[in-house]
Subunit: 416 residues, 2 copies
């Protein structure tokens, strides 16, 4: 049984297909989300359907795979069963926990109430509706805003924070130039706050500097060494007490495993709630339970002591490893230790600007980095139809966004 249909869960199931096992995959959503592109959904570059793919379609031809739509709520590792929120109970022989993480607010007061996260597809839609609605409001009633125009504050200078900041300034330019929204581009600001000394702390220092320079040259107000003490409905209070008015606060300040099924596992939990694992990715004392992807403190392997970063490649590789260990156990073979094969890191800053950092060799940046980023993300998108539609959307965007999905579609028609 696999819980979670993100990169890690889908990868695990993928490597169990056509094997002599019955696989049940559970997810609270009926789709897999391509999380690296969520920031483009949030900034109206892509549609929600472009980055999501039904789980049933992914495994439509695998007759040993069953999908169960539901939220896994509790696990009994002794009875070997998982209980779902709707009351369903699923027994397992082997369990792969791939429940990912949720937004971590680092106990900053007001953050979970007033800042908008960007971890799920629903988050991305809500952020888009809020940002576009705010731009319409600024056009109709500029007097409602400090400075007469909205300020967007992004908290956290990791890959998500850098990407959403770059995409927000581009969206602002589009709003003014193509959509003729009456917003003073000199007054409407995007401010990126990072508590550490540099952006993209997971990358090499050179990549962080490039991101910082590029964002600044495009108009983002990058503030390093700036922590957030409190978030309110109309702005943020910084660590030094200064008040920063903001129409929208985007939270890219980190993730936590707390609150997910992995957090409920009877095992030690490390930083961010990640489950501490054996070298083969199983839970100590329960060789039949594996934790993969963001949920686990996936050991890097013999080379490095710290756990792997919470990125897609780790999820994919750890999911595959867990699937292989299950098959080895069924064949009576001993399990093997996981080793992460670092293929590099990538982040895009906007049109014609991205950093691609390979494990060895140079850092690609600028247009080359951007093209590498586009190509790789297209290849990894699930489903040919999605790839085609994303390619169309990106081409349109490149050709100066004559249209694009800048729609404010809420589930219920708001009364404004």
């Amino acid at each position: 049984m696999v819980v979670g249909a993100g990169f890690a869960g889908v990868s695990a199931v993928h490597h169990l297909r056509d094997q002599p096992v019955e696989v049940t995959i559970v997810d609270r959503h009926n789709f897999h989300t391509f999380q690296p592109l969520l920031y483009q959904v949030a900034t109206a570059g892509l549609d929600p359907a472009d980055v999501a793919y039904p789980v049933r379609t992914i495994f439509g031809r695998e007759h040993n795979v069953v999908f169960r739509h539901g939220r896994a709520e509790a696990v009994d590792v002794d009875a070997r069963s998982v209980t779902l929120a709707d009351g369903g109970v699923i027994a397992y022989d082997h369990l792969v926990v791939a429940t990912g993480a949720t937004t971590g607010y680092l106990a900053v007061p007001g953050a979970s109430d007033h800042a908008l996260p960007l971890y799920t597809l629903a988050d991305a839609r809500r952020l888009r509706n809020t940002v576009l609605g705010c731009l319409e409001e600024a056009d109709a009633r500029p007097e409602e805003f400090d400075d007469g125009a909205p300020t967007f504050v992004v908290v956290g200078g990791g890959a998500t924070g850098v990407e959403i900041s770059g995409a927000l300034v581009e969206l602002l330019q589009v709003a003014v130039r193509r959509d003729r929204l009456r917003i003073d581009p000199k007054r409407s600001k995007v401010i990126l706050l990072e508590a550490g000394k540099r952006l993209l702390s997971g990358f090499k220092e050179e990549a962080g500097r490039y991101a910082e320079q590029t964002l600044r040259s495009r108009g983002v107000d990058v503030r390093l060494g700036t922590s957030v003490a409190e978030v309110k409905g109309d702005g943020v209070r910084l660590g030094d007490g200064q008040w920063l008015p903001a129409a929208v606060v985007v939270w890219a300040g980190g993730v936590t495993v707390d609150g997910t099924l992995a957090a409920a596992l009877p095992a030690p939990h490390g930083r961010g709630g990640r489950v501490t694992l054996e070298p083969d990715l199983s839970v100590t004392g329960h060789p039949e339970v594996f934790v993969v992807g963001d949920a686990g403190a996936v050991p890097w392997g013999p080379a490095r002591a710290e756990p792997c970063p919470q990125v897609a490649q780790v999820a994919i590789q750890s999911g595959r490893h867990a699937a292989r260990q299950v098959l080895r156990q069924l064949q009576g073979q001993p399990t093997t230790a996981f080793t992460y094969h670092d293929k590099g890191l990538m982040a895009t800053i906007g049109r014609h600007a991205a950093v691609a950092q390979l494990r060895r060799g140079p850092i690609f940046r600028g247009t080359i980095g951007w093209l590498a980023w586009l190509g790789l993300h297209l290849v990894y998108l699930v489903g040919f139809r999605n790839r085609l539609v994303v390619l169309i959307n990106w081409s349109w965007r490149y050709l100066d966004w004559p249209s694009g999905p800048r729609l404010i579609v809420a589930d219920v028609d708001a009364d404004l």
Copy 2:
């Protein structure tokens, strides 16, 4: 000033572009909706973004057109101003009211609470989430349903009711065959209820009979002469007292102008609340106020006494007529009477089956009708990008739906 960015409002603004007038178009959504395809969004054939197009993009190059996002709440025809829900007041010299209609529940108890309408994009998304969620529930917990499988009841046998019924049976087949949902196709039913003696009452009798036969042959339980007395959360009570259990009730029982800005106009209102109009589409006593599209009882012209049907062609033609009358008034010319040029009616029943009824000549049906329907709807979709993406989605669908946007994406992650 034009209120409403549906077919009628967009048509009116379109014919005022590049004219010596300043045009403000107001809508509570920031997008135009291609309503004839909403039922495909509801049944997961198309994405929301495929049938919606930002108003700002439509008029991005028209420098005499300004878009204002907001809900028009009141109109003062003496002071010549419209008040928006957010407090904004917009003065006008000429007013074109194109606020359309809303779902009409015909005072059937429980209908507005428990039946799902299909008039806005938000309606379509909600219906899709409900239907797909219901299918997942039937897979996981069939014991929750009467007969062990969900029944879908569609109320109203007009074009919308016929189209959604046909699309729902196709979706059920896809769910079982491609998504391998464990639902007994013999137990899961689509029931279409129509109070009148035949389907598609606006069409010729032959078209209604064809729709009835085709739907029946595809497994829809068509019940004519069957009215609905009450809707509850778990089914409907029919006019004869019979109880019909239903997992989902779709309301395609008609529309009303009540509750819209048009209803607040100081003018006589006819059937369904439609505003009674002068032959030139103006409001009696207020030659500077025009009502177009679904909101008005648009006179057919000298040929026929009854008002035009509430269809896209009437909206487009009446919007254009009102724009021309405004220009005539500005030039000091007398206004002219509106005449509807009936180009025919179309409804699709599913793959390879549609009826296209031209004003004169034969009724096209079957594959020819279907191809005509596909072509015409593609041509009328706003925006080349949308056309391209819809074409891709339809081609995919035709090629046996290997994927498709069958996503349950709510604004807020439901706790299931």
